[in-house]
Point group: C2
Chain length 356, copies 2
């Protein structure tokens, strides 16, 4: 592209070998055009780095759109705060195109709170829903209902197979457990044991995502380190006294512990235990670069963190919804986030990085 | 922010506790405002996720800007192709604001080509220069000259201390060598040796960046693995026969090689040698996720790759120039890219990831 040169319909017609009328019909989504011609024009647009003239069309159309997001509520420093930041950032960017976002929340420790939020959403007037489908059955019914209403649904953070969703944005969970095992086990001997922590929440079956991470982790062990033994410990959400006792038993020297892992974002609790009890020779794998986790990564109690760019899960999810609903562009169905590996030596450059 | 609500000067004044007139002067960069008030307003803008109304101002102003980029020319699949992609992407985004980018190239294997390109740039009419300062002295003279002309200069990929640049976008090189050593040495025993490959280019002193990576690597070894020995091998750019001979000598069994590293993007050459000679028990660290490197990472000849999001180096650099020149916003001086660690188990999710 030369400086000063704008791409015209004529340019596109010339390069694609089609008529200006056909190009115009495709760009404005009207009239009938063969799939073959559409594909040709799409290819040409890509080659020319064409962007539809959003400004002109948004200023002339005056149509407004509303998307609704539904994610867990959170305390400062929690995982979901980052997801919420991504929503804020995209809101600021798309408001000028008359596209608005209404943010809703539920209590992730209370199934009933999720059920009510979903019931409200079923009848809400909007052009798209972006949400975290934390409970499978309710989410399946919801997406079916939204399909009837022709309102697209985008999943973030966890995915439900066989549901009618437009797109999913989140980590490839099985693989993130598998990679976690690889990085952790580089530092563990065959005669040492691995502690595998889970957190049980009342009235909830385990989150799909952490279960898949666990499967990936165990799959790596059985493939590459079959001689290593795993000891399972079930912590209970909201019961710190019990958990303290369970950790004390688990890290007993007689257990010959070489490593520990927890698949949700609360590795900082285990790290805190290791620090208070001055336990030095255990390598700990955790998930998500929360400030509290990063603190213990830098201090050495956490050995490696796996992160998944939570801010971009929501940012990309809403941008995809925008592209689909407003710009009528196709959207990828499954959009995996990268599996980012953080040691104390590279974590700062990851968390301080600012995308322009 | 509620749906449908636009942020007004009144909102900002109310929240910051300053007058609407003061807010207006700051937003439009005119008149005198105390640093304290400016800071207050900047903080308020951040809290409100304020974006200046780019559309209105670009449509009304009709002013055009030209930035010039200067990077090495490349073959398909080379490192610099990714940097160039980032330039293309940002060009497509900012053209609608009447900001254009002229792309220039030099031959990185010919110092004279860099000198001439810089000479041409010194007198070019433009509003900003984004370039890779591959040779120190010439780049220092150039930035001083541009400072006289009041044209801002942004460095990408490598940095020159004491030069007058607006901003730098690239990897923290020392630290990326240091982290590389950590990941590599997890797989190497104390009685094994490490091959450290360099590539000499005629008429060039070593690139600043690879030298710094090497320093970081050796610093980690002397700190944590003082018993491991390093064997240095100097390959020659453009002399494959000699290099084949040097690699044959280096990987001789009598050298008891446990690991190898090369700090530029050509690990694939060493991986290719390992594959052809069926050498299995050497772990190899390379830099940059070129397709050829990723190929050998997946096959197993390369054990770990460190990547640095080259597309975002140029993308962010030009966006920063845009923010500074067009929007009159302050810009961070040093902008380090993350140090991304890639194993065969997570590389696909990294290279296939698409930022919306």
């Amino acid at each position: 592209m030369n400086p000063g040169k704008k791409i015209t319909i004529k340019d596109i017609a010339k390069k694609s070998g089609l008529s200006a009328g056909t190009v115009d019909r495709v760009l404005h989504n009207r009239g009938e055009v063969s799939e073959k011609s559409k594909a040709k024009i799409r290819k040409t647009l890509e080659e020319l780095h064409y962007e539809p003239n959003l400004i002109a069309s948004s200023l002339s159309a005056k149509k407004t759109y509303l998307f609704i997001t539904l994610i867990p509520s959170y305390n400062p420093g929690d995982y979901w705060e980052e997801v919420d930041k991504g929503i804020d950032r995209v809101m600021a960017e798309i408001a000028k195109f008359n596209v608005f976002v209404e943010k809703r929340y539920f209590n992730q420790f209370d199934a009933q709170s999720f059920f009510s939020a979903i019931d409200d959403l079923e009848n809400a007037e909007c052009n798209g829903v972006i949400f975290s489908p934390i409970l499978r059955d309710k989410s399946l019914i919801f997406t079916a209902r939204m399909k009837q209403r022709q309102i697209p649904v985008v999943f973030i953070d966890s995915q439900i197979d066989n549901a009618d969703f437009l797109a999913y944005f989140g980590q490839p969970s099985f693989q993130s457990g598998y990679v976690g095992a690889k990085t952790l086990m580089l530092q563990v001997k065959d005669n040492q044991n691995v502690l595998l922590f889970r957190t049980l929440r009342k009235g909830f079956i385990g989150a799909n995502q952490t279960l898949q991470r666990q499967e990936g982790f165990l799959s790596y062990l059985s493939e590459y380190r079959p001689n290593v033994s795993v000891i399972n410990i079930e912590l209970q959400a909201g019961n710190p006294d019990l958990n303290e006792l369970l950790m004390r038993q688990a890290f007993d020297v007689r257990n010959n512990v070489g490593a520990a892992v927890i698949f949700n974002s609360t590795a900082y609790n285990i790290a805190d235990f290791l620090e208070r009890n001055d336990i030095q020779n255990v390598v700990l794998l955790g998930y998500d670069s929360l400030e509290r986790n990063v603190h213990y990564l830098k201090q050495g109690q956490i050995s490696v963190l796996i992160s998944q760019r939570p801010e971009y899960q929501s940012y990309n999810a809403i941008k995809a919804m925008f592209n689909y609903v407003v710009l009528k562009q196709p959207v990828n169905h499954i959009n995996y986030m990268p599996i980012d590996l953080l040691y104390k030596e590279n974590v700062d450059f990851y968390t301080h990085y600012k995308q322009y």
